[in-house]
């Protein structure tokens, strides 16, 4: 075996976005020897692109209660969310937001000096009665403000970052316990073993499996891919959120906060069509619902533009003052990426892949839980996940806007606490590394180094994106998804033979993209096969052949195993921590 350099820490965090850095702060401040690995400098993580807000029932503007927030989240999830995790998140939200404020996050303010809150999709008062202002905002740069604040706080805590290190694979021992990761130092091209007592994946989403996505280039599902290859099942990967307002053609996000501030959607006839579909919440219905309505308008010939392929987001009636003060970045994006100034003209928008509801199965403590010996949920010792790569599951079949940033800080912190507890109580000394700990990662790199005559990475990646975009979109049907399964399996074979011309070591981005594609294909396979398998319509999974939600047969989480492309299930948690169960009902808005 090749001699691979090793480094040892108590805790390793992979990913330095909102979840990773919130966890890092918890661990650093507790004096745990922690390494944070990130393939980009922390403030370049995709959390930075979140715009509209972070939710908490602070009641700064209107009366609000965390129980209402919980109800909205359960209903938003189309009853696939785990109600214990949802209760935990919504109840913890106010203190999590106040903590961010104390960390120095530059929230906008109301006259009383408290945090400004705006309306958002699916946020209601009194169990769905009327819209409520719950989204705490820093203009339309809430993610940027949050991410920079967490980075700054980690500078204060002296957190040790390994910047531009790409994690390659999870290391599990013979008991199945997680004892570290392998990682590539991008500047040197060297592979290291990072030996740890506890590993947290906070690697973000994988929206890059779609051709049109609001997601950054780096969102390649690295944690999902590493987990899948290490035998961890993936939960609910059929559920992908299409954000109603991506800039048509460019994919760049336009926050729901635009509609929160009073913006409206219009079809080609100038009709505010959401009034027809959602009489109470109108343009502020949840995202799965609004995206379907928009897609229907286009399908039925009422799309705008010369190809009738998008709808219009009108906000000029808000006036320059509101737009410049509350939505300055939106104006900048619209001018740069849509070529329109929203003070004068509407923005052309289209539902665009935005968020992965599924992921690595965890409980609300951030512990990774998998079926074992007949039990549906057994802890994988030493393994934690938080943020978009994890599935707690608080978002179920459809996430509410602003619950993603909340998810990051709530579960980043709880995962950090769980790790501290585990390291102190259960793992005072490191478990030994298996003898072959780095072999698999080294073989992946050796394969790339030796590969000749293979296909280019970009070409294969485009093939993945083409299949997923056309077969796992807003509207799905059996025949199309069956084709998608066949096609993505064929692409998976091609991924095994990708070739890079660049074989050098220092900052070899071609190699990194090839390794990322290994992760993308795991996500794409899980997505396509889980989607084809679910014979109902729920949340973001809208099935033309099974148009109703089927609670009797399908109120259960999908678990997808990469090996053998096997599907299993686990029950939805119907027992909240302290309050009454919220029973399913029809979702109308």
């Amino acid at each position: 075996m090749v001699n691979v350099a090793k480094r040892q820490f108590d805790a390793v965090i992979v990913g330095a976005g909102g979840a990773g850095m919130r966890a890092a702060l918890q661990l650093s401040e507790a004096g745990i020897k922690t390494a944070v690995l990130s393939k980009v400098f922390p403030t370049r993580s995709h959390t930075v692109a979140a715009q509209g807000g972070i939710s908490a029932a602070l009641g700064n503007v209107q009366e609000d209660k965390w129980e209402w927030h919980m109800y909205d989240t359960v209903k938003g999830s189309d009853w696939l969310g785990d109600q214990d995790a949802i209760e935990f998140m919504c109840k913890t939200a106010p203190e999590a937001i106040i903590e961010l404020e104390h960390f120095g996050m530059p929230f906008d303010r109301v006259d009383s000096g408290r945090i400004y809150q705006r309306p958002f999709g699916g946020h209601t008062a009194n169990f769905g009665e009327k819209p409520v202002q719950r989204a705490c905002a820093a203009a339309d740069r809430t993610g940027h403000a949050l991410l920079h604040t967490l980075y700054q706080r980690n500078v204060r805590a002296n957190t040790q970052f390994f910047v531009e290190w790409m994690a390659l694979d999870l290391i599990r021992d013979a008991d199945g316990d997680v004892v570290g990761v392998t990682a590539l130092e991008m500047e040197t091209g060297e592979v290291y073993i990072i030996h740890a007592k506890a590993v947290l994946f906070a690697t973000g989403g994988a929206g890059r499996i779609y051709a049109a996505s609001t997601n950054a280039f780096i969102n390649t599902g690295d944690g999902i891919g590493m987990s899948a290859r290490a035998g961890i099942p993936l939960e609910d990967m059929e559920f992908w959120q299409f954000h109603p307002t991506g800039v048509a053609g460019a994919g760049v996000l336009i926050t729901e906060g635009v509609r929160g501030e009073g913006g409206i959607l219009l079809n080609a006839n100038g009709e505010r069509f959401m009034e027809r579909y959602a009489p109470t919440l109108k343009d502020l219905a949840p995202r799965d619902f609004v995206s379907r309505c928009m897609a229907l308008e286009v399908l039925e010939g009422r799309g705008a533009g010369k190809n009738k392929d998008h709808v219009l987001l009108k906000l000029d009636h808000l006036g320059p003052e509101v737009i410049n003060h509350r939505l300055p970045s939106i104006r900048e994006i619209a001018i740069k990426f849509a070529g329109v100034d929203p003070i004068k003209e509407p923005i052309p928008v289209i539902p665009t892949c935005h968020y992965q509801m599924g992921g690595i199965p965890t409980n609300y403590k951030g512990e990774v839980m998998v079926p074992k010996g007949g039990e549906p949920e057994v802890r994988v010792n030493g393994f934690y996940a938080a943020g978009e790569c994890a599935c707690a599951s608080v978002h179920g079949a459809n996430r509410l806007g602003t619950n993603s940033l909340l998810d990051l800080v709530v579960f980043g912190k709880s995962a950090g606490d769980s790790m501290i507890d585990f390291i102190k109580r259960e793992r005072p000394v490191h478990k030994p590394l298996p003898a072959n700990a780095a072999d698999f990662s080294l073989s992946r790199i050796a394969r790339l180094d030796a590969q000749t005559g293979g296909e280019e990475v970009a070409q294969v990646r485009t093939a993945i994106q083409t299949v997923i975009q056309s077969r796992a979109g807003v509207f799905r049907n059996s025949a199309n998804m069956a084709l998608g399964v066949t096609e993505i399996k064929a692409v998976a074979e091609r991924v095994k033979h990708t070739q890079t011309k660049d074989k050098s070591k220092v900052w070899n981005t071609a190699r990194m993209e090839a390794l990322e594609t290994d992760n993308l294909i795991e996500v794409a396979m899980a997505t396509m096969i889980s989607a084809e398998n679910r014979k109902e319509s729920r949340g973001a999974h809208s099935h033309d052949d099974f148009t109703k939600r089927d609670d009797e047969n399908w109120m259960k989480h999908t678990l997808f195993y990469s090996e053998g492309s096997r599907i299993d299930y686990k029950p939805v948690h119907t027992k909240p921590l302290t309050v009454d169960y919220i029973p399913p009902k029809e979702r109308t808005f």
Partner: protein, 233 residues
């Protein structure tokens, strides 16, 4: 449409020294921004290395020197560029490979200003209150994306990257000085009272000229200098 480039190339594994590469690429109609063109170019030559992530001007990864001026590739319109487009790494920082520079010194300076709110009074159970007017003081300061376009266009930073904090770091310094929740103004001014750290800024204003977020570090630096003067008086 074909697009012509002159790109700075250097791969320490292969090249004895850096060189300028003449290369062209056939663009697709969907390619609008310089970053789109570079990504397209990478399909022709996969060894071309550059950082990129959000592709919408908010993560700060793809700062580079474009036809002589620092900027973000992802928000630079292809049609605005004179061809062949000359692309170089950010000036003044060590080049690791191609357009990838070593930003250690840049972040070291940022960290040196203690970029976090300092307030030792125990926080209340709710927010530390701040009026909308006080909060407005942070506008134009907190939006920095740490792309380093400003600091690497600043002659003072080129000459003294180890001693002069640079425009990005000083903008951040003033962001915390201006925050009504921060109680360490004196400590922060002490930290900058030095012939180099603050006073190497000679108001050349290259930083203002290149900032892709339209921020004004020179103005922030001026305000810090004012506070220094007031403090002495």
């Amino acid at each position: 449409m074909k697009m012509q480039f002159k790109i700075y190339r250097y791969n320490p594994d292969v090249d004895a020294k850096p060189y300028m590469q003449d290369i062209e690429v056939e663009l697709e109609p969907s390619d609008k921004k310089l970053l789109d063109a570079l990504v397209r170019l990478k399909t022709v030559d996969d060894s071309l290395s550059f950082r990129r992530s959000c592709r919408e001007g908010v993560c700060g990864s793809d700062a580079m020197n474009i036809n002589g001026k620092n900027g973000l590739a992802c928000v630079t319109d292809i049609v605005s560029l004179k061809q062949p487009v000359e692309i170089r790494p950010l000036p003044g920082l060590p080049v690791i490979r191609d357009l990838i520079v070593d930003m250690t010194q840049f972040f070291k300076q940022y960290n040196s200003i203690k970029p976090y709110v300092i307030n030792d009074t125990p926080p209340p159970s709710h927010e530390r209150l701040q009026s909308p007017k006080d909060r407005e003081e942070l506008d134009g300061l907190y939006e920095c994306i740490l792309c380093a376009c400003c600091s690497t266009s600043c002659p003072s930073f080129w000459w003294n990257p180890d001693k002069f904090v640079g425009p990005a770091g000083l903008l951040a310094a003033y962001r915390f000085i201006a925050d009504t929740r921060d109680t360490a103004i004196n400590e922060r001014l002490d930290n900058l009272e030095d012939p180099y750290r603050l006073f190497r800024c000679h108001s050349i204003m290259n930083c203002v000229d290149v900032c892709p977020k339209h921020l004004n570090p020179t103005k922030a630096i001026g305000k810090i200098k004012e506070l220094m003067v007031k403090r002495i008086a």
